[in-house]
């Protein structure tokens, strides 16, 4: 096994060394403690013995080169007794940090998570007072952290108050007086009262902690999901388009070829790749549904990367199939199965939950008739697939029993209008109902 040979630190104030001579060449046999190379430093020249027995595999630092201490200068292919190169503490810590990052990247994040569950930073509530209107003096509102917190907790707009503190500052007694006076108004806040600037509305704690209760702290994943959902709703005006598709043909096809397919390709055959393929075709036809919004720009993604929502015990995660439009049916099925499996066993890599352009979720897999999902930022739409159920439907002038599914599209009205959304959905429906591709 490979053993690293290091540039040693010959003294506390020495930080680099020069390799002056290699006493062995790659391929030579080397005994443990046998002189291997010579170095020169600021203070001392030294002969360095080999840290392990074996064969000198590779010299990484040639004669004459100066490197920092602890640099790997050569590699020995170790033989014999286990030469333990214990993982230096820094490496162990780095691994743990990387693992933590992978977990943390789980929820598709647009908003940066806060590290403390503190009330929103004062910056958010530093209200720019009246816009440049003639009467307003555009002054900054002087208060204090305490005052701002109480204002937020009680739904009070500081711009409406005048202060009796030093320099006209809104002081504690001012805000307490306002709270006492405006108590009733604060109670009606929930029914769409005056718009609140900046952050989320905070309900006073005594309205939450009452009677008997247990407190269960949110896991990190839960917190991130919460943040993302709030942010998504705040960012995109959500509108919904609902369609119904006849899956009978696909259901029959699947039933017919399922065993053969699974035997031949060693992977489960589900309904998902049918929906993915239909979505891809619709996205090709209506590219604006595959975009992102940045201020006043629509970023039209040329790649089609499908985010597939996977339910976990502890929350949800959205791994991404990159280049879904370049995959065939089998490729899509394999990708879906693999990502879902690794999502559940926590083996996803951080880059696998990034860069989606459109997302798909499947409330039907747990029996939901249909769902109205939250858009996965920074996409502008998300397709929800309901449960496939047999229903009586009108065919021509008769009633038949067909396998039907409700499809819903939540879309961001900044980028996508109703006409496009409905046409998109009709295209999806048509692709599914007229499936003619061979999948085996």
């Amino acid at each position: 096994m490979a053993v690293n040979v290091l540039m040693p630190q010959m003294g506390e104030s020495i930080f680099e060394g020069t390799v002056t001579k290699w006493l062995k060449k790659p391929g030579d046999k080397v005994e443990r403690d046998e002189p291997l190379f010579e170095i020169s430093t600021d203070k001392v020249d030294a002969e360095i013995p080999a840290p392990a027995a074996g064969v000198l595999k590779e010299i990484k630092v040639p004669e004459g080169q100066t490197v920092p201490v602890q640099t790997v200068v050569a590699i020995i292919d170790g033989t014999g007794a286990a030469e333990v190169t214990p993982a230096p503490a820094s490496a162990a810590v780095k691994e743990e940090a990387a693992a933590a990052k992978a977990k943390g990247a789980a929820a598709p994040v647009a908003a940066k998570p806060e590290t403390k569950a503190a009330p929103a930073a004062p910056a958010a509530a530093a209200i720019p007072s009246a816009p440049a209107a003639a009467s307003s003096d555009g002054r900054r509102i002087h208060s204090s952290p305490l005052v701002r917190r109480l204002a937020k907790e009680n739904n009070i707009d500081l711009a409406q108050l005048s202060g009796t503190g030093a320099g006209g500052r809104i002081s504690k007694r001012d805000i307490l007086a306002a709270i006492a006076a405006g108590g009733a108004r604060a109670g009606a806040a929930g029914a769409g009262a005056a718009p609140i600037s900046g952050g989320a509305i905070a309900v006073p704690r005594e309205r939450i902690y009452f009677g008997r209760y247990d407190v269960a702290p949110m896991s990190v994943m839960r917190q991130k999901i919460a943040e993302h959902m709030v942010a998504s709703k705040r960012t995109s005006p959500h509108v919904y388009s609902i369609e119904e598709a006849d899956m009978t043909g696909i259901a029959q096809l699947r039933a017919r070829v399922k065993d053969e397919f699974e035997k031949r390709h060693e992977t489960k055959l589900t309904f998902m790749p049918f929906f993915l393929r239909a979505a891809v075709e619709a996205l090709r036809a209506f590219p604006v549904v595959n975009s992102s919004v940045d201020g006043t720009n629509l970023v039209m993604h040329r790649d089609i990367n499908l985010g597939i929502a996977v339910a976990l015990e502890t929350g949800l995660i959205v791994p991404v199939i990159r280049g879904a439009d370049e995959k065939n049916f089998l490729g899509l099925q394999r990708a879906v199965n693999d990502l879902a499996e690794r999502a559940r066993t926590k083996k996803l890599k951080p880059e696998e939950v990034l860069d989606s352009t459109f997302s798909i979720t499947n409330p039907g897999s747990v029996g939901g008739l249909m769902g109205l999902p939250v858009i996965n930022q920074p996409n502008v739409a998300i397709l929800g697939i309901g449960a496939i159920q047999k229903r009586p439907v009108v065919i021509g002038d008769a009633i038949g029993i067909r396998s039907m599914v409700y499809l819903t599209l939540s879309y961001d009205h900044r980028a996508v209008d109703g006409a496009i959304a409905h046409q998109f959905m009709i295209k999806v429906k048509t692709s599914l109902e007229k499936w003619d591709e061979e999948i085996l």
Binding site: A118, S144, P145, L146, G165, A166, S171, K172
Partner: protein, 324 residues
């Protein structure tokens, strides 16, 4: 029965601990026959003998070093610095030997280094200092600063019984000026617990040692203006009772810290940082410090009076904070 002075309370603590535990020994300059430069060890040589009350040469390094060595054999030495200013002479032994001993090789150092610190007696730059912060900054040491006779006795007992090196900064101005009735039975005051000396609701004044008395005076005068100040006595700087400070600030929403020590690097900065990070949203005003200026303690009475914080100055600052 006559009340017990702060100094007598210290002497009682030493006496009672020496009676209770034969492993308690004293070392210092002039502490034996003379009874200590301030009389803190009066009568103890006669009671406990030459082995337990050791008059040393003028060698703070040897005094504290020997105390450390004795503590390694299981004794509980109490070393006196004739003036706490002289603790600078044995900084090495405290910062590098005592403070790091348990951390490095699991060897506790149950010593107490005690002595008079502080100004107000026109003793000049080398007999009036407040050197506590060098040691607050050194992990491994504990720092105690009593403000009352009751605490001087109770905290010194806790310090002697503690397994860690404890620096016990007595305030010489309080030695004979502060007195109260003390309980007859054995009692101790735990380290790390601040005391609310006066409850209030408009602002919190945090202090320690002689400035606690000044703060209480200031609070009385503030009350005449309808301002109710809460006065906290830290009692120990390390370990610091963060919870009591934070709870008080959460209640009053305004904080003023006063200490006799100089401004830069003083305890007030440390407390201000603590409160800003833990209770920022409970602050209704800036954190105010009232301290001595950044200069050595001057000798002449008029100069020293201008140098040290006092009740009037504290009240002024508090009034401005309350009205801000």
């Amino acid at each position: 029965m006559a009340q017990t002075t702060y100094l007598e309370a210290i002497r009682q603590a030493l006496d009672e601990e020496m009676a209770r535990d034969p492993s308690v020994v004293l070392l210092g300059e002039d502490i034996g026959v003379y009874g200590g430069a301030f009389g803190a060890t009066q009568g103890l040589l006669a009671r406990y003998g030459w082995e337990r009350v050791v008059d040393t040469p003028i060698s703070e390094t040897a005094i504290v070093g020997a105390a450390i060595g004795m503590s390694y054999t299981g004794l509980r030495p109490v070393a006196e610095m004739q003036f706490m200013d002289f603790i600078a002479c044995c900084f090495e032994q405290l910062a590098n030997f005592a403070a790091k001993s348990h951390y490095r090789w699991g060897a506790p150092v149950p010593i107490v280094v005690r002595g008079p610190s502080g100004g107000g007696v026109h003793a000049g730059p080398f007999h009036s200092a407040n050197p506590e912060m060098y040691f607050v900054h050194t992990p491994g040491l504990k720092v105690v600063c009593p403000a009352t006779a009751y605490d001087a006795k109770g905290l010194l007992k806790s310090a002697i019984r503690d397994n860690n090196p404890v620096l016990f900064f007595e305030h010489k101005f309080l030695y004979r000026r502060v007195k109260e009735d003390l309980p007859a039975e054995d009692y101790s005051v735990p380290l790390g617990q601040a005391a609310v000396r006066r409850a209030g609701r408009d602002l919190t004044i945090v202090s320690y040692a002689a400035m606690v008395q000044a703060s209480l005076e200031a609070a009385a005068s503030l009350a005449d203006d309808g301002i109710e100040a809460e006065v906290l006595d830290l009692r120990t700087l390390v370990p610091l009772d963060r919870e009591t400070i934070l709870a008080s600030v959460r209640k009053t929403n305004k904080l003023l810290v006063v200490h006799e020590d100089t401004r830069t690097g003083g305890m007030a900065g440390e407390i201000a940082a603590l409160v800003c990070s833990e209770a920022f949203d409970d602050l209704d005003g800036p954190i105010v410090r009232v301290t001595a200026p950044d200069a050595p303690v001057p000798s002449a009475p008029a100069l020293e009076e201008g140098f040290l914080p006092n009740a009037a100055g504290i009240a002024d600052a508090a009034r401005r904070l309350a009205q801000a």
